[in-house]
């Protein structure tokens, strides 16, 4: 199906709006996790209603950030605005903290301010509430500010066509990802601490699944946010460069993103997070399994050979005398696998294998990235003797593998080509005096029609002499069928191009040649009829 792109103006405002909403939800997740940590760290802290506080704080942060950006207030005014905002927020949070115990508790607390103001004003519940609220607020503000900077960059890029938006956008996306990873890393540490049973006071139970769900959701939303900003950056770049964008691109992008994330989440949930076997055990088992498979293959081969050998020997031996029994029964997998394999089930082994493969993969990836970021260290490491030998060994292995790959690939390719050539040869019907036009390439078709013209010309009386070039023969034809001079020349030109040039001959050109040939055939027929009448 063809779907030609049109110059559709894609609006990056909508994805950015969705991104802002995502940021609010992420900040709420962040706040919830911090609240859980507070409840874990401060037993007795009343956490009721903190969810509402988190939602309100995140929304407030998003709205005020947008408001300040719109107003573009100077530094002092913005500071004053923020100070006033926080005074009000603190008052509201104080009210929220004290109203847990009812209005009477609030009144009691206010009366205590006279005796020891700081201690009673900043009591534990209030401070914890402020910490949770601030964490939510700050997270939301961090992401929202980055998004607003992106919006500003994009709107400026809209009016400056030549601006290299991609270069400007990349650091912003890196900043966004850095915020996500830093804040997320903080959550992972908090979550890890909370799930550590050794740290729990006796008798306390923490809902691990709730906390991990919160953290995982935070990261999933973060990934969606990164994807959205990627889309926004690209469409802005395309718009500023006046690129024609396919009409349904945004829709397809959304569907693919959803499918991609669903598959990824399913895979992440399904993949093992613990291991049954240690690294060395898994590696040992894996190598033994490989060895066992090779051994199994060898035995099967040997068994087949022995069967063939017995069949051949039965032809020469005395039929009355039974052939010696040399059959080899292939061993079962359980015989090949070592003892350790019997202690772990196959799913456990597979899970461990996956786990360690990913573990090592991540380590290698991280190490490579670190070396890529520090080229001097990489160079210094290359100078260390054992590492240099290891590097040389790795290079040798890589080259050897590439050589094997190329030679095997070459053998297969040559074999396939030979088979194809054989098939083509068997299909070549020219030996039967028959040419299937549909199987000819456009170049062959052009040549075929020209040769048909030469043959028909000879039959009609305008035969081609051996010494005549195509151009000279064209003159002979033109002398006969004067009305079709242009057609003869076009046909000759097409033939010359197909026969002597390396230019590509298209199917359209082949069809044109067919048209010329049919026209000339009619002309030759009428010319001959005229001659016969004379």
């Amino acid at each position: 199906m063809t779907n030609a792109p049109q110059a559709v103006p894609l609006d990056e405002g909508r994805p950015l709006l969705v991104a802002r909403l995502l940021v609010v939800v992420m900040a709420v997740c962040f706040g919830f996790t911090v609240a859980e940590f507070a409840a874990w760290g401060f037993p007795g802290w009343p956490s009721g209603g903190i969810a509402v506080v988190c939602v309100l704080m995140a929304t407030e942060a998003a709205l005020t950030a947008w408001f300040l950006k719109e107003r573009a207030l100077p530094g002092i005014q913005a500071f004053a605005y923020r100070a006033g905002e926080w005074v009000i927020l603190l008052l509201l949070l104080k009210l929220f903290s004290e109203l847990h115990g009812g209005p009477q508790a609030l009144w009691t607390n206010i009366r205590q301010w006279r005796q020891d103001f700081p201690i009673h004003l900043f009591n534990r519940d209030f401070v914890v509430n402020v910490l949770v609220a601030y964490a939510t607020w700050q997270t939301c503000l961090l992401f929202t500010n980055t998004l607003l900077t992106m919006e500003k960059t994009y709107s400026e890029a809209s009016s400056t066509v030549s601006q290299a938006i991609s270069e400007q956008n990349q650091p912003l996306r890196v900043t966004l990802l850095r915020h996500l990873l830093v804040s997320g890393g903080f959550l992972v540490i908090l979550g890890g601490a909370m799930l550590q049973t050794a740290l729990l006071p006796p008798g306390r139970i923490v809902s691990g699944s709730w906390i991990t769900t919160l953290i995982v959701v935070y990261f999933i939303l973060g990934l969606i946010l990164v994807g959205l900003t990627n889309f926004t950056a690209l469409i802005t770049f395309w718009r500023t460069n006046r690129v024609a964008v396919q009409k349904d691109l945004a829709g397809r992008w959304t569907i693919l993103s959803i499918v991609f994330l669903v598959i990824l989440i399913a895979a992440a949930v399904w993949l093992p997070t613990t291991y049954e076997l240690g690294l060395l055990d898994t590696l040992g088992l894996f190598l033994r399994l490989l060895f066992g498979l090779v051994q199994l293959f060898y035995l099967v081969l040997l068994y087949l050979l022995s069967l063939a050998n017995r069949a051949i020997s039965s032809l020469f031996d005395n039929p009355g005398e039974p052939a010696p029994d040399i059959s080899i029964i292939p061993p079962t997998a359980s015989e090949v696998l070592p003892q350790v394999a019997r202690q772990v089930t196959t799913p456990e082994f597979v899970k461990s294998l996956f786990f360690w493969a990913i573990f090592l993969g991540v380590l290698i990836f991280a190490f490579r990235q670190y070396l890529a970021a520090n080229p001097e260290l990489a160079r210094a490491l290359k100078r260390v003797g054992p590492l240099r030998w290891l590097g040389a060994l790795w290079d040798w292995l890589k080259e050897a593998f590439q050589e094997v790959h190329q030679s095997v690939g070459g053998v297969i390719r040559r074999g396939v080509n030979r088979l194809r050539a054989g098939r083509k040869g068997s299909r070549d019907l020219r030996t039967w005096g028959y040419v299937n036009l549909r199987r000819l390439t456009p170049r062959q078709k052009v040549r075929f029609f020209y040769l048909a013209l030469v043959r028909r010309g000879g039959e009609t009386g305008l035969s081609r002499h051996d010494w005549q070039t195509p151009s000279e023969y064209a003159q002979t034809l033109e002398s006969g069928i004067e009305a079709e001079t242009d057609t003869v020349e076009a046909m000759t030109e097409a033939f010359l191009r197909a026969r002597y040039s390396r230019e590509e001959v298209s199917a359209v050109q082949a069809r044109q040649s067919q048209g010329y040939w049919e026209r000339l055939r009619r002309a030759l027929r009428s010319w001959r009829a005229g001659k016969e009448e004379e």
Binding site: G185, G192, V243, A244
Partner: protein, 396 residues
């Protein structure tokens, strides 16, 4: 971006190792998977995308050339976005966008296009086609691919001439002539009564028998016009201020004359001292021998389309080397931007060899009047055209 990710992965591994943090592995899988599959996705896209560019490889001046690019994804994975950027020469660049973004499904096909404008003659490289593609999340870096370019020829502008008169001394052709010396016995014009002095070879015996009076055949004089265009593209032989315009005008004149000669069903060839970028390393463009027909005209136009001025050979050197190879009676049309004594001497020698010469001065040259006077002295027909509009002289 990848460095940040690497640090984050190490943190996750540390958390998972120290505390009972299976969820850290889940997050690790999410991000590692996104980066890894994003990279693999883009890699697979690069392997399975095929492009086919379809367009007419030859175009006349002023024509529009639609170019279609067919894109095929032979892989099982969809292509979320594919940015196509065609590198195009400015002289024939399209007015609309030449960059496109598409999305393709598994085994999907799409087509994009743009229209080139044959604003200037030349041999152009269309492409290479640069394509950028990536995944949807964007953790992995987008990948780029450049596909091989194609070539296109825009023929020079052809001005249809109607009243061009080129001298010829080649008898027995297809062009009428007024001098009886060129009478063609195969072209009987009329019959008349015999008068004393008529050759007996001219007597039409059948007509004589039918009419009862001696009848003789009258033949039509005819000539064959075999033309060789000598196009001087030595840039030092054009006024430096108008060099570009003058050489282009010279090529337009050469193309127009060649077109006129072919329309008259006569043969035409081309000799030039310009360079053809298509012929790498060759010092001279090989002379195009005189031939008839439209196919030959296209060959000539293609050569003219590719020609570029050079400073290797002078017109006089070119004439001295090539004109002796031409047959007697050939008409040499010299298209140049400059004439001098040496050239007139050479042209005089050419005339003495029995070849005809017409000189066409293209562009703004110094002392045109003097040159015309000199040409007249040598008995050479000479025309001077300062611009294309001046060619109306041959269109009346």
């Amino acid at each position: 971006m990848l460095t940040e990710l690497a640090v984050f992965f190490l943190l996750l591994l540390a958390v998972a190792s120290i505390v009972d943090g299976g969820f850290a592995f889940t997050i690790l899988y999410l991000f590692f998977g996104t980066a890894l599959f994003g990279w693999l996705w883009a890699r697979q896209t690069g392997k399975h995308i095929r492009f086919t560019r379809r367009f007419e490889r030859r175009a006349f001046w002023g024509e529009t050339i639609p170019v279609r690019i067919e894109i095929e994804n032979s892989g099982l994975l969809p292509v979320p976005w594919l940015h196509l950027h065609e590198s195009l020469p400015v002289d024939i660049a399209p007015e609309g966008p030449s960059q496109h973004v598409i999305s393709l499904g598994p085994h999907g096909r799409s087509e994009v296009g743009y229209v080139l404008h044959g604003r200037k003659r030349g041999y152009y490289t269309i492409g290479p086609l640069f394509s950028t593609f990536g995944d949807v999340i964007g953790l992995a870096r987008p990948q780029e691919r450049g596909d091989s370019p194609d070539h296109m020829t825009v023929f020079p502008k052809i001005i249809p001439l109607t009243s061009l008169h080129l001298p010829s001394r080649s008898p027995h052709g297809t062009l009428r002539h007024h001098q009886p010396i060129f009478e063609d016995p195969s072209r009987i014009l009329n019959k008349r009564d015999y008068v004393a002095g008529d050759s007996l070879r001219r007597v039409d015996w059948k007509a004589t028998a039918a009419t009862g009076r001696m009848q003789v055949k009258q033949y039509e004089p005819s000539i064959a016009l075999e033309t060789a265009i000598f196009l001087n593209l030595n840039e030092r032989e054009y006024a430096s201020m108008y060099r570009i315009d003058a050489t282009e005008l010279a090529i337009v004149i050469a193309a127009s004359i060649a077109n006129w000669v072919v329309l008259q069903k006569q043969s035409v060839g081309l000799v030039t001292n310009g360079i053809d970028p298509h012929l790498d390393g060759q010092l001279f463009v090989p002379p195009v021998p005189t031939r008839k027909g439209r196919a030959h005209l296209l060959h000539l136009l293609e050569t003219l389309a590719r020609l570029q001025p050079s400073d290797r050979t002078t017109l006089v050197e070119m004439l001295g080397r090539q004109s002796p190879n031409l047959p007697w009676g050939t008409t040499l049309v010299i298209v140049t931007g400059h004439v001098d004594e040496a050239l007139f001497d050479e042209l005089f020698q050419v005339q003495r060899r029995g070849q005809n010469v017409v000189v066409v001065l293209a562009g703004r040259a110094m002392n045109i009047k003097k040159a015309l006077q000199q040409a007249e002295q040598f008995g050479l027909p000479m025309y001077a055209f300062q611009d294309e509009k001046a060619l109306d002289l041959w269109r009346r």
